[in-house]
Amino acid sequence: MKIRNSALAGIALAASAALGLTACAGSGTPASTGSSAASASGGAVSGEITVYNAQHESLTKEWIDAFTAETGVKVTMRQGSDTELSNQIIQEGAASPADVFLTENSPAMTQVENADLFADVDKATTEQVPEEFRPSTGKWTGIAARSTVLVYDKAKLTEDQLPKSMLDLAKPEWKGKWAASPTGADFQAIVSALLELKGEAATEEWLAGMKENFKAYKGNSTAMKAVNAGEVDAALIYHYYYYGDQAKTGENSRNVTPYYFKNQDPGAFVSISGGGVLKTSKNEAAAQAFLKFITGKKGQEVLQNGTSFEYAIASDVPANEKLVPIADLQAPTVDPAKLNSEKVTDLMTKAGLL
């Protein structure tokens, strides 16, 4: 009897709590909870859009909040990773509820483009983005960029011990000395650049060497943290993890120094984050407006002044002042339309990394 009472009481409590909180807090599911008293004065766009977001949640949230404040358009966000969402969009096909797709790297965009699911990006938007940061096909556009970097522990590696090229990391002397997060789309983008720059054979060889040498971590932050803690000497990640952590408490990057490969080395690859509007979008006007906003001054200023530390690339907005300017990175030229994520997944699966 006691148990029955407490069970019923527990359920009643939970139910009433849910009901009560629902009453107080209003609807709970949309991601944007910025000021709902948004003015509808921002142009003719209205309604709702769904964004499939592979970018960092906090960054996109900033964009969404600002966009909704300006236009009153309600935005629902689905969070995932690059290839997870790209594959999902392809699988969903015509039934996909997505209006906008934002990624961290370009291979996923190319994948969706090749499945002919993107609508043409508005001219007004493409005009804001420099040519090198968008594909020639005009089916999507770059929204931000990040640079590959090798973060290392100064106490463990001296400057002349650092590798001249990313390819050196596959050599025997680097066994057990570096870390990466192969399951992430970030690293897979780096591999796709390698594939594009050096060809399949060289990539396969490098991956095999990687399997021997590297330590796997789940997530770039975790990899950097491991370097910081002295577990491993270096990690191959993207630059903004370092700067982002430094801007916060720095507890995961205190002992870490970034090293840029430069010299058009595959390790100097600058990955373009992409944004595109789906053909099947039910509210294309608002979707295009969102993309325009991100690549516009206000959106790019979020990158400049915000906490994401990715590179701003459009509307002549300079990057965050703490970062190494893009021009100085000496990145290799890679056509984003040529990056093939499926091949990369195949190769990495074959190498036993996935």
């Binding site: 148990i3 527990g10 709970g28 997944t345 699966t349």
Partner: protein
Amino acid sequence: MTSDLSASLRGSTTTAGRGNSPRPPFGVSAVSVLAVLIALFSLVPLGYVVYMTVATGWDTAVELIFRPRVTELLLNTLLLMAVTVPLCLLLGVAGAWLVERTTLRGRKIWAVLLAAPLAIPAFVNSYGWVSAVPSMGGLGSGVLIATLSYFPLVYIPAAASLSRLDPAIEQSAAALGLGAWPTFFRVVLPQLRIAMTGGALLVGLHLLAEYGAFAMIRFDTFTTAIMTQYQSTFNGAAGNMLASVLVFFCLLLLLAEVRSRGTARYARIGSGAQARALRLPLRGYQVPAQVFLLALTALAVGLPLYFVVRWTVAGGPQAWAADEFLPALLSTLGYGLAGALATTVVAFPMAYLAVRHPGWFSKSLELSNYITSSLPGIVVGLAFVTVSIRVVPGMYQTAGVLVAAYVLLFLPRALVNLRAGLSQAPKELDEAAQALGKPPLLAFIRVTLRLSAPAAAGGAALVFLAIANELTATLLLSPNGTRTLATEFWSKSSEIDYAGAAPYALLMILLSAPMTYLLFQQSKKVAGQ
């Protein structure tokens, strides 16, 4: 004539054919049809895996299954199970024995504390350990965390069984000259067989299905690899092949458990005060026992709790950002309630058949559901994603699909409780109500439903607990924009925002605690099943 008397006194299963009717009346036929539909539905994930394996083609399948990576995963998984399961058995039985059969001081508290780790999801446990020892990784850490998280799955049934053991058997052994240790091994332990095999099966299945805990410590198992493949290829062949291997192992485990259970499937439910067994005096072993239990509890419960609280405090009030936290909490509560309700309703036809019309039919229905529930959440999630995209696109990305997945995953928990409850409401009471003039449906509602309601509520509470802590199927199936406590915790801790993740962990533990207590109490009633 005395035998007749004792037969009729023994219970209501006389030869008057109660419950043995092979031609159930119409109302029961409707229930049977319903139950069959549910059973078929519950076979969808298994069907999906089989279909995918076949559809991939033999060559590709072989290529994808027999590669070094899979061997690596296989090795990891097998080693994990080979070490963790015996450890859990050891700790669980030892704990149960200390609490139930010795003069352990403070055993009422220990009894609950030893079941407490169940209130902490394994991935939160992992989070605590990684906070304590950041360099944790590999098999050893995996075994440590898994053992600390899952030994209650053996402890609870073992304790329940031990508390219901007939002391007369041990006393006879003593009269025959067996000392304490030989008695334990030759007399007590065999009677724990059902509890131990059941517990071992549960531990094994949890190990196979666990994702978050192992991903956090970089220990690769099938499930983590499937998740990785999913994130890279969404629904690629490689992931599906891994899923088929995983399902194969789950079925193997099921088979092993059924075999080793033997013919002792006898469940005693209901009243009947049993003579209390004598407790073994610990004397000099009291202090070591207390120390052992203290250490176990500290590691399993104390450590994760300490870190969760510490991170919560460190994070400060901003971690409780209402715009993220509240929706997650509400979603969890909402899905938990909806799932618990749906599961109980769905379980009813099967439980009804199992209790009122037992036979091969009801047993095969239960079996089909048993098989599905042994599948990891990730397989069910993958199956539902594919099926909903290809077959019922209108259902894709809806809450309904997620709730359906929960129902499939957690049906057995509701079933076990509902069966016990229905057994407490025998047919005779329904008939008495009918003889008193109530039409059959009204009699059913006023008597049977009413009497089985507490047990149903208990089962619903357990399903709620499971849903609140579920991660993988939720990650795969939750509609766009939905977050639950578990998924929010996961995304925060993946970005090493431990302070941000802490409030979610705390709340999950708070939600789970009362349900865990309930599970513990319930287990005492259904010992032997």
